[in-house]
Symmetry: C2
């Protein structure tokens, strides 16, 4: 389905497009922001650019990181597009329980395809399929926006918190789909933390906890056969959620080490918290990480 | 009165301090954010840094630009502190009419000392005195924060929209107080635009419209005797408020030209709007403008 352009905002020499489209995967309208750098929009010498997908954390919409993440700064300079999807379907008439909690349902889709009602099937909580299939396919084939992008071969992924979990798991589940991955304060072992247990219980049920492992970066990395990871992770040591054991990046590191998987860099940034202040501070470096693996650096 | 530190947030290698203090000028508690760059906070080789005061626009608090303006990015690299004051007093029990409109009263102090009741005297709408006297004096003499700063001789000022008006007028009223000035989309001729007419009518009354000129950058520049201005102004050509005649930067340019005042650079940035997306895009350059005049570049 074609995208509706609700707004185009000048940003760092390029443009941020606030888009929406009717998703067949979720069955709902979905908002998504797309940043195109000046290199793509040049009237005299336009060139197709690679794409970095940014997955947001709990409660967020496409707006938060577009405004506060500072990714456009370096993406503008290097010639990289950025896609900011939403974090869940949002039903005009909410499903039972959809808007009761900030860490489950609306704003908390966890980038998985739910198997439990009311979230599965027509419930539309199928953010994994939406992010890995429908959204990029719709974008790259779009008459208006597809022509600015290099396409499915030149995509990297990043994310924050729940979105860091999303970026890491979608990268690990789909070898070759993304040229690199990075994450800010990811929920790195959701099967073993309160946020993940709540979400997975709701979306998958509690009978097959073994099955949760297919959606857990720490478990997925044990079975990784894709060669060296191209993975950069930053975690703030002043992050309350890190201290409360919601993120567990050490478990991811240990699992990679045990499995002999190379190429995972986890940095513990002294004193940084969980906020966009933290992300903005290291956004340039995460954009550079993606740009390097997308052939821009 | 000493500052209370409500929060310290790591940002671009430095720290953003969310402060509050009881103001004798406004008679209310005032929130203010202070960013200190890594050079000031170094444990091994700390150095006192100059200060850039950022004045916010209508409806804003110290939070908006701290989160979305990206001044910290370049300030961190160059070694510049940034002060984000609030835009008005905010009475715990509002004055009559204080919170009725978004463009007058709370969040809309216009950086003047009101002469009309209930805003004058104990009404505390004395943001000009607060910004030019009480706040810097309190900060530079503060036992906790004063030691990081070079002091009153090394201060520049900038601002957005109503805050651009504030920055320009306080600079023009006080030769030598600030080493440079810059503004994003300033209300450059408030006596002649709806926002300014509403605010000045309320704060000064309508009997002495001639007296409004003492608070209007376009009028003040006619009488400027301080040598070359060190003034940088950016305005977006896609800014709806610019198109509606709320900003009138051409009037400022013309007045400076007529008065033979040099050193005013006004840039019309193609397609940019009035938002923080616009500011973030040029924040590096405005920080550099201040840094140059503060001896950092």
């Amino acid at each position: 389905m074609a995208f509706t352009t609700n707004k185009a905002i000048a940003s760092f020499g390029g443009k941020l497009f606030k888009l929406s489209h009717q998703s067949t995967t979720t069955g709902t309208p979905m908002a998504v922001n797309l940043y195109l750098p000046p290199a793509a929009l040049s009237s005299t010498n336009p060139c197709k650019v690679p794409l970095l997908i940014y997955l947001s954390g709990l409660t967020c919409t496409p707006e938060n990181c577009s405004e506060k993440g500072f990714f456009q700064h370096r993406a503008s300079q290097l010639g990289l597009a950025i896609l900011y999807p939403d974090t869940s379907p949002r039903h005009p008439i909410p499903l039972p329980g959809e808007t009761d909690a900030w860490d489950f349902g609306a704003g908390a889709g966890f980038y998985v395809d739910a198997t439990q009602p009311p979230w599965n099937d027509e419930g539309g909580y199928r953010m994994e399929s939406y992010i890995t299939r429908e959204l990029p396919q719709a974008l790259f084939s779009d008459a208006e926006y597809g022509r600015y992008l290099q396409g499915a071969e030149r995509v990297s992924i990043t994310g924050h918190s729940m979105g860091g979990h999303g970026a890491l798991t979608l990268y690990l589940k789909n070898p070759g789909m993304y040229q690199s991955v990075s994450a800010f304060a990811p929920i790195a072992n959701p099967s073993r933390c309160p946020w993940g247990e709540k979400a997975f219980s709701g979306y998958f049920g509690t009978e097959d906890r073994e099955g949760w492992k297919r959606h857990d970066a720490t478990e997925l990395v044990r079975g990784w056969k894709g060669g060296d990871l191209k993975a950069l992770v930053d975690v703030g040591t002043g992050d309350d959620f890190y201290k409360q054991g919601q993120l567990l990046p050490e478990n991811l590191e240990e699992a990679a080490r045990e499995a002999g998987v190379k190429g995972l860099t986890v940095r513990y940034q002294e004193g940084y918290d969980h906020s966009y202040y933290f992300m903005a501070s290291f956004a340039d470096e995460h954009v550079e990480h993606a740009a390097k693996h997308l052939g821009l650096l």
